[in-house]
């Protein structure tokens, strides 16, 4: 496939990937290939080492002292479903926020409708910020879990997870964090933050392949009472027809995506080597330039609206915008066709977040930067949006003139 000139859809999945990712996946396919943990031969043992290596790398990056607490799933959505379906029972109350992705909202709504779960959605400000005090005010005696999006996939706003974690601890409940956007993008230690369950995906800021992700299960979680999503073979306790009760096997039935995990380990090692702080500082600089550039557009009747907080410390390099007079779908299509810029348009699987922002149901155009984005890319994106905004401005002016003429014609007709 022809490479787009400028890839700005890193919040959907990062691209390109570090060459080491593909090299690790190729090595597994070419030289290892076996099923981890199922057999005792050297290839199988090497496959088990690769899987463990991926656990170790993820644990190191996310501040988890025991790699066996990293449970692999196909993606963050599956990890979130595992936590929600596995821990909640009818009658439980859950508090979540107005910035959640459908990977949280849909399983929660399903549990609400089918299993009698009680759910409170704490509103956020239109810029995506959450007042942790509102979370505390929403707690009830039956509240078992707080679910918070660490960073918005729509406007990049970082939510106050540390404060919410403190609230969860004080009130003796668990905190599940959706780290799909934050893992690898924001420097943090899960244990230091006080997060009990962290869902992550491998293919965004961990620079691994799609099909990799997982759930990190903290020490406060009662593994015994935590039901799996899938039961089956694990390579362990084969004499028993009941599921193993230990981590990570209890939640990892079926052969793992070893080729994907080989790539994930390489991606995470690449992030660790580059340094999350360094990657973030570079991206923050470009985000600031992008936002400043977009905000400067506004001459000659053009209007571009940029959503979210301006302060780079409180956001990811994910920028949502709208152009007055041009639908997001048209902006995105023309960015792609005429400028070679890959952007994502619409509601970004997060209708809740768009309602919070006041951009539902039309949505926004999202430009999300990554480790391989350059300042030239940012300048080109600003120039492209400026050109489209000017065209939209001219279009609006013509419409106004047309309407004025139409009204004039209407009056004439009425008088006749």
């Amino acid at each position: 496939m022809k490479r787009p000139t400028i890839y700005m859809d890193n919040a959907a999945t990062s691209w390109p990937k570090p060459p080491a990712m593909l090299a690790a996946m190729r090595r597994f396919i070419d030289e290892v290939g076996a099923n981890p943990g199922r057999s005792g031969h050297r290839q199988a043992v090497e496959a088990a080492r690769i899987v463990y290596g991926a656990r170790e790398a993820v644990a190191e990056l996310l501040g988890v002292s025991d790699p066996l607490r990293v449970v692999f799933t196909a993606n963050a959505t599956q990890a979130l479903n595992l936590a929600l379906r596995g821990l909640l029972v009818p009658g439980d109350h859950v508090v979540t926020t107005g910035m959640e992705h459908n990977s949280v909202m849909r399983p929660l709504r399903a549990l609400e409708q089918e299993e009698g779960l009680a759910l409170t959605v704490v509103p956020c400000s239109p810029d995506g910020t959450l007042d942790a005090g509102d979370v505390e005010a929403a707690l009830r005696p039956q509240t078992k879990l707080i679910v918070v999006n660490h960073a918005s996939n729509v406007i990049g706003t970082i939510l106050p997870v540390r404060e919410v974690a403190g609230i969860a601890r004080r009130h003796g409940m668990l905190l599940l964090v959706d780290g799909a956007q934050s893992a690898g993008a924001v420097p943090f230690s899960m244990e230091e933050l006080g997060v009990d369950l962290l869902a992550f995906t491998g293919h965004k800021s961990l620079y691994g392949p799609t099909g990799s992700g997982g759930l990190v299960i903290g020490e406060r979680v009662d593994v015994e009472r935590f039901r799996p999503l899938v039961w089956g073979g694990t390579g362990s306790r084969s004499e028993s027809e009941t599921q193993p009760d230990f981590l990570p096997d209890k939640f990892e039935s079926g052969t793992l995506n070893v080729v994907g995990l080989a790539g994930l380990e390489a991606g995470v090692r690449w992030v660790i080597d580059r340094g999350v702080e360094e990657l973030r500082a570079r991206e923050a600089e470009m985000t600031a330039a992008l936002i400043a550039g977009l905000r400067e557009i506004g001459d000659r009747g053009t209007e571009v609206r940029v959503y979210g907080v301006t302060d780079a410390d409180r956001r990811l390099p994910t920028v949502s915008l709208t152009v007055a007079g041009m639908e997001p779908a048209e902006v995105s299509l023309r960015l792609d066709d005429e400028y070679g810029i890959a952007a994502r348009v619409g509601l970004h699987c997060a209708p809740q977040a768009h309602r919070t922002m006041g951009t539902s149901p039309v949505g926004t155009v999202r430009l999300s930067l990554g480790a391989f984005t350059t300042q030239d890319d940012v300048a080109a994106a600003v120039a492209a949006v400026r050109a489209l905004a000017r065209e939209a401005g001219r279009r609006r002016e013509l419409e106004r003139q047309h309407e004025a003429r139409g009204e004039h014609a209407g009056r004439d007709a009425g008088e006749a």
Partner: protein, 92 residues
């Protein structure tokens, strides 16, 4: 590499662990401590599970026990066994 195996008695110690995940965790800890080990299929006589266990030479048993305990690797059984030359090998 281990010294010549004893003429009689056990040659190796096997550490049974819950899963291959734990086995690799233990392997890393032992290697980090300079103890040669190998992951091998669990002998049928010791367990009916189909996984792998950690094997070290018998002389390293005490040290290996301490290293695994320090690493937090869950050990479900420790068995001294006599294994043939063919199956022997300190490393990979």
């Amino acid at each position: 590499m281990a010294a010549r195996p004893p003429a009689h008695g056990p040659t190796h110690t096997l550490f049974l662990v819950p899963s291959a995940n734990h086995a690799v965790q233990g392997e890393r800890a032992l290697q980090g401590a300079g103890i040669a080990c190998r992951l091998i299929p669990v002998p049928r006589a010791l367990s009916s599970q189909c996984g792998v266990c950690l094997r070290v030479v018998r002389q390293d048993r005490r040290r290996a026990e301490a290293v695994l305990a320090a690493a937090g690797t869950e050990v479900e059984g420790v068995h001294d066994v006599r294994m043939t030359e063919r199956g022997q090998g300190g490393g990979r």
